[in-house]
């Protein structure tokens, strides 16, 4: 396997969906190719960082407005179920 081929299979390898036979070749290449090894490690860390990334917090006033809007819409669509 060449570096280029490894690069093309990167997604499958990182996501663990690569064919086991190809996975072996992939790992054999990495064992002898430090740059590829580091690139794969960099990619893993990149994904981890974004996965761990903070969530955007929804503003409280918006949440209230959203819920109110949805309540109004719900009542429009379910007039018969309206209680009280």
């Amino acid at each position: 396997m060449k570096c280029e081929e490894l690069l093309a299979m990167l997604n499958e390898y990182v996501d663990g969906t690569v064919d086991p036979a190809i996975c072996k070749e992939f790992e054999r290449h990495m064992a002898g190719c430090n740059p590829c090894q580091v690139v794969v490690d960099n990619i893993r860390k990149t994904i981890t960082l974004y996965k761990k990334g903070e969530r955007y917090e929804m503003p409280v006033e918006f949440r209230e407005r959203l819920h109110e809007t949805l309540r109004i819409k719900w009542r429009e669509r379910h007039p018969a179920k309206r209680r009280g």
Binding site: V14, V38, D41, T48, L49, M58, R63, L70, H78
Partner: protein, 209 residues
Amino acid sequence: MSQAHPPPVSDLELVRQANSGRQEAFEELTGRYEERVFGLAMRMLRHQQDAEDVTQQAFLSALENLNRFRGEARFATWLFRIATHAALKVLRKRKGAVSLEWAAEDSDGMAAPHPEYIADWRETPEKLAERAETRRLLDEALAALDEKHRVVFILRDVEGLSVRETAEALGISEGNVKVRLLRARLELRERLTREFGDPRKRVAGHGAR
């Protein structure tokens, strides 16, 4: 707050209950996903007012179309698809023109960017995640991506959709998702490694063979 409660009702069950007229079920679904839909919109649009509009639109549309949800996809995927479409509409409006580029298959299939700056990172992702500055760098790197690559990365790697779900949400092929995802990952790696890489551990000569 809900730790001592019995296991939560599934999304599908909540959809069923909402469709039979139980408002609380729809409110529960909203509560489960509003933060994530808002986050998705913020990452795509980087503008709070627009993200709020898109979030509201998405839930209104979900409410209107809930009886058409058949459960072939996960509820979350279905909802993200609605939100993604709404966000894409905003992006297109901003550009002032309909972009045909979006649905087009990538012709540059294998031409993913070649790694240039290769180095071990100075710190672990855990340590980096503790810094406020990291958040800014992550946002900037993501913003620098092409829109079509960014959206795929957000859905797949940030929101955790599968390749197939991402393809469904965007109305593109799975092959195209993979190509765009690889590009996004490689570009982000390049940018972040320039920030977080240890210059003393820089590796040269990649691709020489």
